[in-house]
Amino acid sequence: MIENFDLSLVNWSRGQFALTAIYHWLFVPLTLGLSFILAFMETLYVRTGDEMWKKITKFWMTLFGINFAIGVATGIILEFEFGTNWSNYSWFVGDIFGAPLAVEGILAFFLESTFVAVMFFGWNKVSKKFHLASTWLVAIGANLSALWILVANAWMENPVGMVFNPDTARNEMSSFRDVVLNPVAVDKFLHTVTSGFVLASVFVIGISSWFLIRKREELLARKSILVAGIFGLVSGLMVALTGDTSARTIAKVQPVKFAAMEALYDGSTDAGLTVISALRDSGERLGEKKVHEKKLKIEIPGLLSIMTTGQQGGYVPGLKDLINGNPDKGILSVSEMIERGRYARQVLTDYKVAKELGDNDSMATLAAKFEDKDFTDNYFRYFGYSYFEHPWQVIPSVPVIFYAFRVMVGLGFFFIVLFIIAVWFHRRETLEKNRWFLWLALFSIPLAYLASELGWIVTEMGRQPWIIQNLMPVHVAVSNISAGAVQTTFWLFAVLFTALLIAEVSIMVRQIRIGPKH
């Protein structure tokens, strides 16, 4: 069945969406975090009347503006690519997925775009308080927009609050509350925005450190490091906390992704948490996929079981359990899910044919199945599996996810230490004396971007091959266009984004070199 789909088209479409998302995410986290840092700094200016805080705010605001524009440009493409490249997906779930996008536009984008103009151009045109309110509203608007798009994204990983309508052959929303309060959405929103705050804090501390290394703008640099250090530390701790709850949720709703994150092939009641390890081909195969073994591993025995299940000796299923099934633990094999999914799809096809033929008796009988709890819980929930030929096709790339996850988590803890040291040195007034720290902070900027991108790689590659968990595989969602067309736009986007990134970095670097005196 899978060979009926043009995999070259699927891969180019995935590539184009990934390219856009990766570029978009180079700019968004800085906007999310820096907007709040600006708001804190301007609040200090308004409360103290100290012109230095105004100067500091305006300097960081210039950098914010350079970054903001390109984030907006790449963001619009993502929204439209759902339609242009994933039209089958757009119809299948547009009833649910489109709503958060529309809310994002109405509630968040207008807030952000309206007040960003006041923030940049209103210094001498509106009162101090109105300007400050505008800066806060930009921060709130930016983060609200993140909320809605992440609600939509979370729904794709844990589809809730909907029912399937056989007449329209699509899923329809039955509870907006369930969609918004989806546990994956809550974890994802908190984890993602706080990681943006961390990135922005590392950015501010890194640039400020450069000023201290060059013995320039020392007061601005020290004050900026204090604000970003405190904000970053609080945010970093939140990232760690929400990362933990997020992993627990993934273990429940996306167990294959979780097993891949841990490269856990054999389920265990005493699963250890692998801190770091090298993966090697064990020679064994799970279908056509390699089984990896861990070499040189540092592991904390039993901790994964405790963290995942909340109890010592809790069972954590491995990829072999999840693919081949484990009746003792109540885990269905993927082969069985494929069979059940095919049955559900056949029922839907029969219904559509009966409708075309005007066979009302058959329609009534078949429609009743979609109301039947046994059918929806035990068959229709595996609908998406019907598009696979082999169980191993639902396994994502284990090494990519395993390593990406560990580098991301390691860097997250590194940033917490960095913030603690920054605040500590500031308090002791020894920032300038510790030049090693200043260089470390400067070179941590690219690491923050790396960690942020890796987070999305874990999320998005980890849920492959699904575009909607268990309901729709990626290859079914793609638009019916030629691979050549997507290939062309892929390269156009690649060239354009790269050119704009070069321009952005060049302008940003020059603006930093000029400093706040400009």
Binding site: A73, S113, I481
Partner: protein, 376 residues
């Protein structure tokens, strides 16, 4: 209340919101229209800077309205989103590209370290200014002229033409609306610049350009309206949903709905008044008449396309595949939920108005541009 909020009512309600967003979007295309003059209107760099800064303070509104327009379409009529965007791939990609290059151009054009030079980013603004309104106009014209697609049993789209939407460019009626929107955006852009900049020499250039752009706008707009009103329209049977081509269908829609007729006529009169004020009276407030005339005119065109037993996104290849509001819409639950969200729109409009007035209280001058404030 329960009786009123039926699925059909909500479909009509959301078409109204989509129409309103479309009207506001076309009004806000004055930013693009103004950009299309970036090389021809200013006599020196300072005048160009004033033009760019005047428009640059508003570009985000247009951009956001476009994004919200897309988001609202996705949420309320997802089958249209899937069919049009997934089928007419190249038209939408061309529109997207023209808007991507705009977003960065303002911020980067005059910044030190700009590796590509100001000229490249000004060219981006010019391209967006011309292509954006024109292509949006062509895309919307297909609501009346039809597109080459079929839908299968599971509503998956198959586009007939290998040009994937670009074939719309060879239909003269589509071109008429594309050109009408382009010249309307240019006229509104000139009116906006007249309203927001304080420079006598520039004002003289703007007034000359107004006449040269108002005439083609009127010609293309009237030709488009005439073409659709006297031509065949895509009628959808209220009971069976069967779509057929019917002569004078859009004319019947216009004359059969007094509200649409009033909206259309009021809008046209306001736009004409704005042209008269700008050209013959030298008024600097014509943009408000032009803008508030544009919104109802565009809304009434959308009403013609969507209301009154009409297919709003017809298929010229297979009439049965044509989309009606009922066929393309989201579920009752989603539309109802979204309706509650839409109640916030007046509040959004109010704060946009307040913030806009705060920033535009004083006109842009050369002195301000030479100052230390944030500028493009």
């Amino acid at each position: 209340m329960t009786m009123i909020i039926s699925h059909a009512f909500l479909q009509s309600y959301w078409w109204l919101i989509i129409s309103l967003l479309a009207g506001l979007l076309v009004f806000l295309l004055f930013v693009q229209g103004g950009q299309s003059f970036i090389f021809s209107l200013p006599r020196n760099d300072m005048q160009r800077k004033m033009i760019v800064n005047s428009l640059g303070r508003k570009w985000e509104f247009t951009f956001t309205t476009l994004v919200t327009f897309g988001g609202a379409f996705f949420a309320s009529f997802p089958l249209f989103y899937a069919t049009s965007f997934g089928g007419a791939y190249w038209v939408w990609m061309a529109i997207l590209f023209s808007f991507i290059i705009q977003a960065v151009a303002y911020e980067y054009r005059s910044k030190p370290g700009n590796v590509f030079g100001t000229g490249v980013f000004d060219t981006f603004l010019f391209l967006n200014g011309c292509l954006g309104p024109f292509l949006l106009g062509v895309a919307v014209a297909t609501f009346f002229t039809g597109s080459d697609f079929t839908l299968d049993l599971f509503n998956r789209v198959q586009w007939g033409s290998g040009w994937h939407g670009l074939e719309a460019l060879i239909n003269p009626v589509n071109l008429l609306l594309g050109l009408a929107v382009l010249f309307l955006a240019r006229v509104l852009g000139l009116m906006y610049l007249e309203n927001s900049i304080d420079d006598d020499e520039l004002m003289a250039s703007i007034r000359k350009s107004l006449v040269r752009n108002a005439i083609p706008f009127l010609v293309f707009f009237l030709a488009f309206v005439a073409a659709i009103l006297i031509g065949k329209g895509y009628r959808a049977d209220a009971v069976t949903g069967e779509v057929s081509l019917v002569k004078y269908h859009y004319l019947h829609n216009l004359t059969g709905n007094i509200f649409t007729m009033i909206l259309f006529l009021c809008g046209v009169v306001l736009v004409l008044v704005s042209l008269w004020l700008a050209i013959f009276r030298g008024s600097r407030r014509a943009i408000w008449y032009g803008g508030f005339g544009t919104v109802p005119v565009v809304m009434s065109l959308f009403f013609l396309a969507g209301y009154g037993e009409t297919s709003f996104y017809p298929s010229s290849a297979d009439l049965d595949s044509s989309l009606t509001l009922a066929k393309a819409s989201s579920s009752l639950f989603t539309l109802k939920t979204m309706m509650y969200v839409s109640f916030i729109i007046p509040f959004v409009v109010a704060y946009i108005w307040y913030a806009w007035s705060s920033i535009n209280r004083e006109r842009i001058t050369g002195e301000e541009m030479s100052g230390e404030g944030h500028s493009y």
